[in-house]
């Protein structure tokens, strides 16, 4: 007998507060799997944002810090500078990063902080009930864009993986998604690579994950996965925007 898949040991028994079908669950799981596979549990400090993933500290048997809304990169800077040998994971939502925390993430990129950012882009504010994020798609309906996002008040969606890749301090930037088994595999590979770069002492490693928020989008989970293919990836192309590890070869 062999076990093909078993819930990672690094998870606690805590019931997860995510909605059914939420991408956070998948991404959390991948992080757990990688930490376990790569023997990083002992070295990890996970930094969680304010957003739907704020309770994730309760899901992992690792050191965890919940940062204030938008400030995870600042807290991560403090942690990583203090413990340069640790695996510091700065986990952020799109409201958290692109709106409240724009200054923090830009400057983490500018300084080239040597931690990994896992950026969960679900193009909406999940936790607070479905308001617009800067990443919300044009014409997307949210509680603060009830007639769809329009140029006039809110401008256009912001492509963070591209912007961050343009900063000198960024070592690696890739956009992935978790809407199919194959894409989930690629997401895992991307996060794994980011962790590897971090443990090698490279600059900022940044993984943007397009993630379904069925509740915020007001659709069934499977429809959410499809919407990622049909609409979300059109604004946010998947791919590697920078990989200094690759270039070095």
């Amino acid at each position: 007998m062999s076990i093909v898949y078993k819930r990672p040991e690094v998870f606690t028994d805590e019931y997860k507060k995510y909605c059914g079908g939420c991408g956070h669950g998948i991404i959390n799981r991948l992080i757990g799997e990688i930490m376990e596979e790569e023997n990083l549990v002992d070295k990890a400090v996970l930094i969680w944002p304010i957003g739907c993933s704020v309770y994730a500290d309760k899901y992992f048997k690792t050191d965890s810090i919940c940062a204030l809304h938008g400030r995870a990169p600042a807290v991560g800077t403090g942690v990583k500078r203090s413990c340069p040998e640790d695996l510091v994971v700065v986990y952020q939502g799109d409201g958290d990063m692109v709106s409240e925390g724009m200054a923090e993430i830009m400057h983490a990129g500018i300084r080239g902080e040597k931690f990994t950012v896992v950026f969960v882009n679900n193009s909406i504010y999940g936790m607070t009930g479905g308001q617009m994020a800067p990443t919300t798609l044009m014409d997307q309906v949210t509680t603060t864009t009830p007639y769809g996002r329009k140029d006039e008040n809110t401008g256009h969606p912001v492509n963070m993986a591209e912007i961050i890749s343009g900063l000198n301090g960024c070592y690696y930037s890739e956009r992935v998604t978790v809407n199919s088994p194959a894409n989930i595999r690629k997401t895992k590979a991307a996060i794994k690579k980011a962790f590897k770069y971090q443990m090698e002492g490279k600059g900022l490693s940044f993984v943007e994950v397009l993630s379904p928020c069925p509740t915020g989008w007001k659709v069934k989970p499977l429809q959410a996965l499809k919407w990622i293919d049909d609409v979300v990836t059109k604004q946010y192309p998947l791919g590697v925007f920078k990989d200094c590890g690759q270039e070095e070869k």
Partner: protein
């Protein structure tokens, strides 16, 4: 024989496992709710299961265990 086990109380009825299972006969939605009020997925027929692990790999809850050749 392979075995897929779904933790009934963890499942939140997203149907990802059902949808992505390449076989389609293995998992089904339960007809009764769990404590949180969801109709969880359950493995009903292991005959065709190839233990590919896809159901587990898409499950946001980590609710699924897949065992091969039990």
């Amino acid at each position: 024989m392979n075995r897929v086990t779904v933790d009934r109380e963890m499942c939140k009825e997203c149907e990802y496992c059902l949808h992505f299972c390449p076989k389609g006969t293995i998992l089904k939605k339960s007809t009764t709710v769990n404590k949180m009020g969801y109709y969880p997925a359950e493995a009903v027929d292991m005959t065709d299961c190839i233990a590919c692990g896809i159901c587990a790999s898409v499950c946001p809850e980590g609710a699924i265990t897949v065992e091969k050749n039990i």
